[in-house]
Amino acid sequence: MAKQFLLRRSVFILAFFILAGLIYALGQDLSFPTDIIHLDTAVSQLPRYAVYSLMRMFLAYLLSFFFSIAYGYIAATSPKAEGPMVAFLDVLQSIPILGFFPVAVIFFVSLFNGSRIGVEVASIFLIFTSMSWNMAFSVYESFKTVPSDLVDAAGALGLSGWHCFSKALFPICIPRLIYSSMISWAGGWYFLIAAEIIAIGPVKHELPGLGSFLIHSTENGQVDRTILALLLLVGMIILFNLFVWQPLGVWSEKFRYEFSVSGPPRHSFSLLWYRKILATTQFRALRKLSFFTLSPLKKTITLFQRFGGKMTIIVIKGMGVLCLVAIFYAVSSHLIVFVEGFSKPFPIEIRNIPIAIGASFLRLVVAYILALSWTLPVAYWVGQSPPALKVVTPIAEIGAAIPAPALFPFIILFGIHVMGGMNAAAILLILTGMQWYLLFNLLGGVQNIPADLKEVARSLGLSRWHAFRRLFLPAVFPALITGSITAWGGGWNALIVSEYLIYRHEIHSVTGIGAMLDQAIYESGDAQMILITLLSMILTITLLNRFFWRKLYVYALGHFKIEY
């Protein structure tokens, strides 16, 4: 218990330092106005840029963290709000990051009079939009599955308000929250480039960061710099996984409210290492010291808690309401554009939308089949020899986080020059936004195949093909469907970085809804076109989800669920 508390506290201390550092760094540059944010593409700037990007990611993550808990909690606990809130989240999830550009520009940038801080906030907001929805979903779903006996037990123990939340409810959502955080974090990196260059038509704001460095070097065709930045990115991702997500993941296992134990416990060397540090005498001395300095603070906190058990809940709900107000404001600012957009006559390009959607859809189908054709065998292989998981997981985690535009040079070389055509390149890029979700979910599914069923397959002498068809495929089917839903979501979002790209000052694009949106945002800046393409895209995604994927999901749960 004490260890848990300490770990939590150390995370907070770490967060505090990073926050303080960020404020300091921002304070340094606050003096100059935005329009001339100077983007120095010298290699020596890279470390600084990496730190900037990391801080943006971190702040966006922090925001997503609190948002998702507040949103998920409210949606799961208030029956009236539940329906609309979940539906709203569903729609939000289907809006590609570019769809939030108008909000970022109209609201945040202009709110701060075009100053650097406004652009920074806008950027953080954009990263937030690529992180928070799936986290909010996982919190909501965790809260929905809180076993009622646990709530009863908490009630019987006299826990109420904040205590009930922190001791009984919150721990339940930790495992899934951390798992979805990992995916969200990777998603944040994936769209970093889109989030660091904010533009509507001629208005263009570029922030110093790893993302803009990457896009600049590819636009200029400096492959060496792209590779360097990419290596830095991968290094950061690996370190982050090793020292943050992996230990958190292992630590979160103990909050799992399940009795069945499948497989050996997972290990994280850094978690053991943290625990060792926590147990050293020096650290104990430090703890004592901090105890003396912190004890007055702690007393006030407990005092506050005693009085403010309900207060804290109100504060949390307040934060949630605040977020909702912000979103409402954002939507209403959209609405203004919306009304303006429809009061004018429609441009002729609108006729191209159905064809564009069709073309994008076909590309998604091809990418999806490609993704399936390698993720299924890999998942099967991992199922056959579990140690392979140790190799596949880190590769998948890194792969998922590499931003698509960073791969432009290689994919253009490969796609256009080897496979002959921008279409092939676009499909490869879409693949980068789809395949990892599929792989993550399949790996999860394959680990849940009961050991006795695998043993039956072996003992009956099922051939590889029969075991694949009779055991593996049905067993992972529900996971395959969940994975497909997220992969398609990711794929639609990835269209905007796949169908339109700039390499060596040359624009490569294909007919597609993603390219249309890109053109509307980066080239013409026509609010009407932005709106119409965006709406038609959201409509397509939502309809597909509702009438295809959701039905398939219900069917999968009915027929292939393993109950023991």
Binding site: P264, P450, D452, L453, E455, V456, R458, S459, L460, G461, L462, S463, H466, R470, L471, P474, H559, F560, K561, I562, E563, Y564
Partner: protein, 250 residues
């Protein structure tokens, strides 16, 4: 030539970078047509030993000979019945029984016929199109048994087949298995069963092999030549049970 011969088998499992001994120097022989029960306290490695006999698990040292040949992979002449039933939830009763036949390359017509035959033998006819989720524990284990028997194995291995069932159901199933074994409806006549219930072992088996707590070593090989059907209240059943119990308690 012996049907099965276990020669000085050792088994270790890797656990946290430490090799944990599970079985230590086990040797015994199984003759064709025997009904053998493996008993021992929980965690003594009796389930591992059963898997060694079918080739699902290979020994760290020593060897398991089947008809004189050392097992290096799963022995397809053996079939297994699991404590947890281990049925495929997405297949019907018929589908579950057919799975093993499909793997053996039987034509659709043949496997349908054979599956139906064994479904009938275990008393499951009428349930062909049911899914496992519709069945009670007793019916599920009958499917497990039919699936194992349908591949017409030479050796039937049962891992605690009745422990997941309620007392009355397990009693009914135990009697049915004995009845089928005695009048040869099973087509297989060599059975090895793992159990932690001493009385169950004494009531059913020809020989009881007793293992010590972990790491499992061989404690005794007890021949039971009481006439069947055996009576729970028979003094000799009690005597042998007591003897095994005191061996394990030592």
């Amino acid at each position: 030539m012996n049907f099965i011969e276990v020669q000085k088998v050792f088994k270790f499992f890797q656990q946290d970078r430490v090799l944990m001994p599970v079985l230590k120097e086990i040797s015994f022989k199984v003759h064709e047509g025997e009904f053998i029960a493996l008993v021992g306290p929980s965690g003594c490695g009796k389930s591992t030993l059963l898997r060694l006999l079918t080739g699902l698990v290979l020994p760290t040292e020593g060897s398991v000979l089947y008809k004189g040949k050392s097992l290096t992979s799963v022995n397809l002449d053996s079939a297994m019945v699991f404590q947890s039933f281990a049925l495929f939830p997405w297949l019907t009763v018929m589908g579950n029984v057919e799975v093993g036949l499909e793997a053996r390359g039987l034509s659709e017509e043949m496997r349908h016929k054979r599956a139906a035959e064994f479904i009938d033998k275990v008393g499951l006819d009428g349930f062909e199109e049911a899914y496992p989720r519709e069945l009670s524990g007793g019916m599920k284990q009958r499917v497990g048994l039919a699936r194992a028997l349908a591949v017409e194995p030479k050796l039937l291995c049962m891992d605690e087949p009745f422990s997941a069932l309620d007392p009355l159901t397990s009693l009914a199933l135990r009697e049915e298995v004995l009845m089928m074994w005695e009048d040869h409806t099973m087509a297989v006549n060599t059975i090895i069963m793992v159990t932690h219930m001493i009385e169950e072992a004494v009531l059913m088996a020809d020989r009881v092999l007793v293992l010590s707590p972990r790491p499992g070593t061989f404690l005794a090989d007890i021949k039971i030549d009481l006439p069947r059907p055996r009576d729970k209240k028979d003094v000799r059943v009690n005597e042998i049970s007591d003897q095994i119990f005191s061996l394990m308690a030592r």
